[in-house]
């Protein structure tokens, strides 16, 4: 798993948005969510986006991950121009390069933790043994080695979110997107999740982009972007990011 940061292109950002605008139209009402937004996300870092509700954080995340089209501007991910990819190519891009963690855990009730992680790997063209090896390793990495055979109904909220992280991690993605991954969890579990995300950025060189308005998470991030009304208000780097100060999750 300790792959060298394969996109160690220090001079090129992992994600780049240039002059991105996005509006939603429902009926006669037009909501300008993002307005001429320009942004670079550096590779191998945990970047946190925070801001008030409805300011467009999730929309920005879905645009940077190629889940949503933009009205104008351009988005580059790992050097690819996302606007030029069709639906198939976008799926392919996501399969090869991205992982997701959502607020809801979105686990199949019928599958064990191990199968949840193995399932997407089956579609990546890996051999069965390789898929199983990766699934086991990433479940071990999130501290669920002893919970692999359990179904979601038998797991706690924090464990479910860790399964979801393992599912994203097992793909060994260069980009990991997380939207409010801790908001359904209590403080301790939230802490563990953000630690985990940070560790993934450090040890795997993964670019982690996380949306949250949980102020406790700020000190764990390498970089914090404050958003309001579709604009980036501030962009700062907390002085001493706490690396693994809370030990390994178990």
């Amino acid at each position: 798993m300790h792959r060298p940061a394969s996109i160690a292109v220090t001079d090129q950002p992992a994600l780049r948005a240039i002059g991105v605008s996005k509006a939603f139209v429902s009926g006669h009402l037009r909501t300008q969510v993002l307005d001429d937004l320009t942004l670079d996300i550096e590779a191998g870092e945990l970047t946190l986006i925070s801001g008030p509700s409805g300011c467009g954080k999730s929309t920005l995340l879905s645009i940077l991950s190629g889940l949503q089209k933009i009205d104008s501007g351009s988005v580059q991910a790992l050097g690819s121009e996302l606007g030029q990819l069709d639906l198939r190519a976008l799926e392919r891009f996501r399969l090869e390069h991205t992982g997701f963690v959502f607020q809801g855990f979105n686990l199949f009730p019928a599958l064990s933790a191990f199968e949840q992680v193995e399932l997407p790997l089956n579609h990546m063209g890996l051999t069965r043994d390789e898929a199983r090896r990766r699934a086991r390793l990433s479940l071990e990495e999130v501290g669920l080695a002893h919970r692999m055979r359990l179904r979601p109904a038998e797991l706690s909220g924090g464990e479910k979110q860790r399964v979801a992280i393992a599912r994203a991690l097992a793909k060994e993605p260069q980009l990991l997107f997380a939207d409010e991954p801790t908001s359904a969890l209590d403080a301790a579990n939230g802490q563990m999740i953000i630690d985990l995300l940070h560790r993934i950025a450090v040890t795997h060189g993964t670019t982690v982009l996380c949306v949250s308005h949980d102020p406790r998470l700020v000190m764990h991030a390498d970089r914090v972007l404050a958003m309001e009304d579709g604009h980036i208000l501030s962009d700062r780097r907390p002085a001493a990011p706490a690396i693994d100060s809370h030990g390994t999750p178990s």
């Binding site: 399969l95 997701f100 979105n106 199949f108 193995e118 579609h123 793909k171």
Partner: protein, 376 residues
Amino acid sequence: MVALARKTLVYEWRRFLPAILAVGFAGLLQLLQLALVLGIFGSTSMYITGSSADVWVGYPGTQSVGSGRSIDADVESRILMDPAVTRVEPYIWVDGDWRGPRETGGVSVFVSGIDTATDGMMFSRVLSPALRARLDEPDAIVVDRSALDQLGVGIGQTATINGHQVHVVGIGSGLRALGGVNVLCSLDTARRLDSDAEDVGPTYLVAKLRHPNEARAVARRLRGDQAFGPYTAWSARDFARLSVLYWLFDTGAGAGVLFLAGIVFLVGAVITSQTLIAAVNGSVREYATLNALGVGVAALRRVVLEQAFWVGTLGLLGASVLGIVLMLLARSQDVPVILNVPAALACIILVMGLAAVSGLAAMRSLRRADPATLLR
């Protein structure tokens, strides 16, 4: 591969149960109505299936056994000339009007005049040799047990057919007819009972072949010759099918079967597709997550179709078990039910088609599995 479709089906079986039941009942209904119709209308080809002849020769254009016309008796020698044929015998069909000893009114009867020799082919599978021998006696007849009440006779009693006196010398079984009553007698008796002056030859000539599996080819060969006036030939199997199909569609029963099959299909498909759609909707966020992770829409569709396939298979399995039990029950109660391979295949196709259509309908609701909706 993680068997998502199968594991979900097993884990959430309660959710899929209505679909499995709908598919199962659709299959069962279809199976039973087909078996019943085939059982009832199968008796219209009993003359052929109950006999050991391989080839039938009759008037061209004949649509069912009961609607034959007489052919030239000399055709017999032409058929005997064919090297594949080992034996030929005439079969005379006479429509008769029965007047019994008791007050039954007129009953329409189908008189079958047959060769009474011990190796006679006609009805050899349903008529015992002893009964056949008794038909040698002039004006002797045999009727089916089930028709005794209808005819108002018992064994040893006399009645008239087309004004000629006949007497009942035996009672057979498996000789039921549709739309009338079968009466068996010798060829001589049948000729006497025939009141139509135009009928000079036999209604059919039936032939036995050295190799029964050549029936089709021999029938085709015999058809070519027109030397003895109009006649044609069928293999026994083809003629039996012709008879059953004629009755199916002449009586409208065939249309009824198709109509009911259509309704069963529609109702089954509505219930099944609704259940499958609900199942897809219940997992739509998980499907969307897989799509976000790059699993293609095509692969997700395959999962839904596979679920439909399993629902169809399980329904079919249930329908088969119940169907066999019910058919055995029907048989034990003398209800005529017959199931053959084409009918069973038709049921399987209907059920799997129903499942496939429902799966395709459910696939459409995968469109709601848009990963962008997970980010709000």
